[in-house]
């Protein structure tokens, strides 16, 4: 058998545990996790609290606000979802998921105790520590509030590190507002919550119109110093980015202080399937969080 080629077994694990990003075995490894609670928010959106089952994996699992995970249901599918919970809680994530198709509809029929798979966390996050000592604008359109809930939790837990904090949240109608039960808590932590609806029912007393209307009210007539020391985080549907970023730019919020989270189709989260490419930048690796300067330099980004 002298001339039989030797089979190289790449599954043979090296003695030292390598970093997750280099380790071959981590590619398809899913953290077995359990749905701990299911909380419907609206007709379309539900919040799932999902906890890793293995205690050792749970200790190791941490993330930055803005990152996402891949959620898998065996035989149904796997898809990316933004983490919508506080980064100080390890081994557990909250996902707020809208019913749009195969996996998400199936999920909406699942209850507590069901086992799902989690991979990640993937992608870049918002640089929260860099923002210490600054004003923050959190701008969300529709489902865009979901990824913002993680930086909001961070701000609440570290409120003294930030100056003025404003949330600008635009929604189609009052029925579609997400996380209504948290609004009072945010306000108690001295976070200004500005909600604007596109279409208001008779019971709505707040402003009506597009999100940019509220935003311009907040930004108009400030000291120059305010604009220079403000970070903005923008999440929402693709059309929204253009208008919001244009306005922030007109008020001279520095481009490196404006962060957007881009959504793309994703089938791996690891820079391999190419589905998420903008130009030739992998949204799953270099994003989903980008500063506006980078976005401007990407073709077809927004």
């Amino acid at each position: 058998m002298k001339h039989q080629l030797k089979f190289v077994d790449v599954t043979a694990r090296p003695a030292v545990q390598q970093r997750r990003k280099q380790d071959l075995a981590s590619f398809e490894h899913t953290f077995r996790s359990e749905i701990m609670s299911v909380q419907p928010l609206t007709e379309m959106e539900t919040v799932y609290r999902i906890k890793l089952i293995d205690p050792a994996e749970r200790r190791q699992f941490s993330f930055f606000p803005g990152q996402f995970v891949m959620l898998e249901i065996a035989g149904i599918g796997e898809a990316p979802f933004s983490i919508s919970s506080s980064p100080s809680i390890r081994g557990e994530v909250e996902l707020c998921i809208r019913k749009v198709g195969n996996l998400t509809n199936f999920l909406s029929k699942m209850g507590r105790g069901v086992h799902v798979g989690i991979r990640g966390p993937f992608g870049t996050g918002f640089p929260m520590e860099e923002m210490h000592g600054q004003n923050i604008l959190l701008i969300a359109g529709g489902l865009g509030l979901v990824p913002l809930r993680s930086p909001i939790a961070y701000v609440q837990e570290n409120r003294s590190h930030f100056r003025e904090v404003n949330i600008v949240y635009g929604s189609k109608s009052a029925e579609q507002l997400l996380f209504t039960y948290q609004y009072d808590m945010w306000r108690k932590d001295d976070i200004n919550l500005n909600i604007i609806l596109e279409k208001a029912g008779p019971s709505w007393k707040g402003p009506v119109g597009l999100l940019t209307k509220s935003l311009s009210e907040i930004l108009t007539g400030r000291q120059r110093e305010f604009y220079h020391n403000t970070y903005a985080i923008v999440c929402g549907p693709p059309v929204m980015f253009k208008f919001v970023c244009k306005m922030l730019n007109e008020f001279h919020i520095p481009m490196q202080k404006m962060f957007v989270s881009l959504e793309r189709r994703m089938h791996c989260g690891m820079g391999k399937c190419c589905r998420c490419n903008v130009g030739s930048t992998y949204t799953c690796l270099t994003g989903p969080v980008f500063d506006y300067w980078t976005v401007m330099n990407l073709k077809e980004a927004i």
Partner: protein
């Protein structure tokens, strides 16, 4: 690198030594086209005489042996609400690739950069790539080959053994000790000065045979500048969005993932399928928004990924100039014409 020569009859002996204990894949004649010209394909071979050493090119690259069009990433055993996942990289023994041309070896080297040597290396590819024994062979440029423009007309690494036909004998480049050990069984001779001269003459002749070429000078910048160019619309009008170009491309690796439940409901599988960025829903997301809704958006993206993005990331383009995409395209879209048109601003 070590250089040796051996008489032509020896190659069959090498095959028999290797094939006795290993799986061998090589170019065979699969069928004839309507002009009675052979159509070649990479297939498992068991007899030396089945290998077509002077094959022109294959319609499909050898990709299916290391990036299968369809491959299970994992399988599940399901019981009630619980499941057990098992992962298999779908290879159990090494494969000998007998007679890859320089372009196809270079294609592997390019794939290595993104699938092996970047963050999150892909084990399904790694397991197969690490279990290859590659024998390269010299080739004759076809009218559609522009590998020379892409710097892919010679392979400097990524193989074990490379043989060049010098008429009476083969000139051999030996890159690995595994290859060296195989060659111990043959009657070989050290390459002499006269062999070197013959080899260089052969290379020189090959160089003169290229007819297709593209000018890659400043190509990344030009593509950046010409992003809005009208020519993209003209090519987009022709493109059928069929995805065949990616299918036959030795460097295209994009994919999609799908999960299915087995018919007995006791198991499930997660399957990876190669995909093409020219297909309409490649970049469609939830809510129905499509980031590249039009044919020209997608065709352009394919060129930007290959000739701009990959260059920015890895200092080389994701195209080896094998010309397979142009030969396959029913709309007659070729890389050399597309690139030339972007430079002149007109398709004609």
């Amino acid at each position: 690198m070590l250089f040796k020569t051996f008489a032509k009859e020896e190659l069959k002996i090498l095959f028999e030594i290797i094939a006795a204990h290993n799986r061998v894949v090589g170019p065979v004649e699969k069928a004839r086209d309507r002009n009675n010209k052979p159509i070649y394909a990479f297939e498992d071979v068991h007899e030396f005489h089945d290998i077509q050493l002077n094959y022109t090119t294959t319609k499909l690259p050898a990709k299916r042996f290391f990036l299968p069009f369809k491959e299970d990433l994992s399988t599940f055993k399901i019981e009630d609400d619980k499941w057990q996942k098992s992962i298999d990289y779908n290879i159990d023994r090494p494969v000998v690739f007998w007679g890859l041309h320089a372009c196809d070896i270079n294609a592997l080297n390019k794939l290595d950069k993104v699938l092996l040597h970047s963050v999150y290396p892909m084990p399904y590819y790694a397991a197969k790539r690490k279990n290859m024994f590659i024998i390269g062979i010299d080739c004759e440029p076809q009218p559609f080959c522009f590998c020379r423009s892409m710097g892919a007309d010679t392979a400097l690494h990524g193989f074990d053994l490379f043989i060049t036909d010098l008429g009476e004998k083969y000139f051999v480049e030996i890159l690995t000790d595994t290859a060296f050990n195989f060659l111990r069984e043959l009657k070989t001779a050290d390459a002499l000065e006269e062999d070197h001269i013959l080899y260089m003459k052969k290379v020189d002749e090959k160089k003169k045979q290229f007819t297709a070429r593209i000018d890659t000078t400043d190509l990344t910048k030009i593509l950046d500048m010409e992003f809005q160019s009208e020519v993209w619309h003209q090519w987009g009008d022709k493109c059928l969005s069929c995805g065949s170009c990616s299918n036959v491309c030795p460097t295209c690796y994009c994919y999609g993932v799908e999960e299915t439940v087995n018919i007995d409901l006791k198991g499930a599988r997660k399957t990876k399928m190669l995909y093409s960025c020219n297909v309409i829903d490649f970049a469609e997301v939830a809510g129905g928004h499509n980031f590249r809704p039009l044919r020209h958006n997608r065709l352009k993206y394919r060129y930007y990924h290959k000739h701009r993005g990959f260059v920015e990331a890895f200092e080389e383009s994701l195209c080896v100039g094998c010309g397979r995409c142009g030969e396959t395209c029913l709309a007659g879209i070729t890389v050399s014409e597309v690139i030339a048109s972007v430079k002149t601003g007109s398709k004609e």
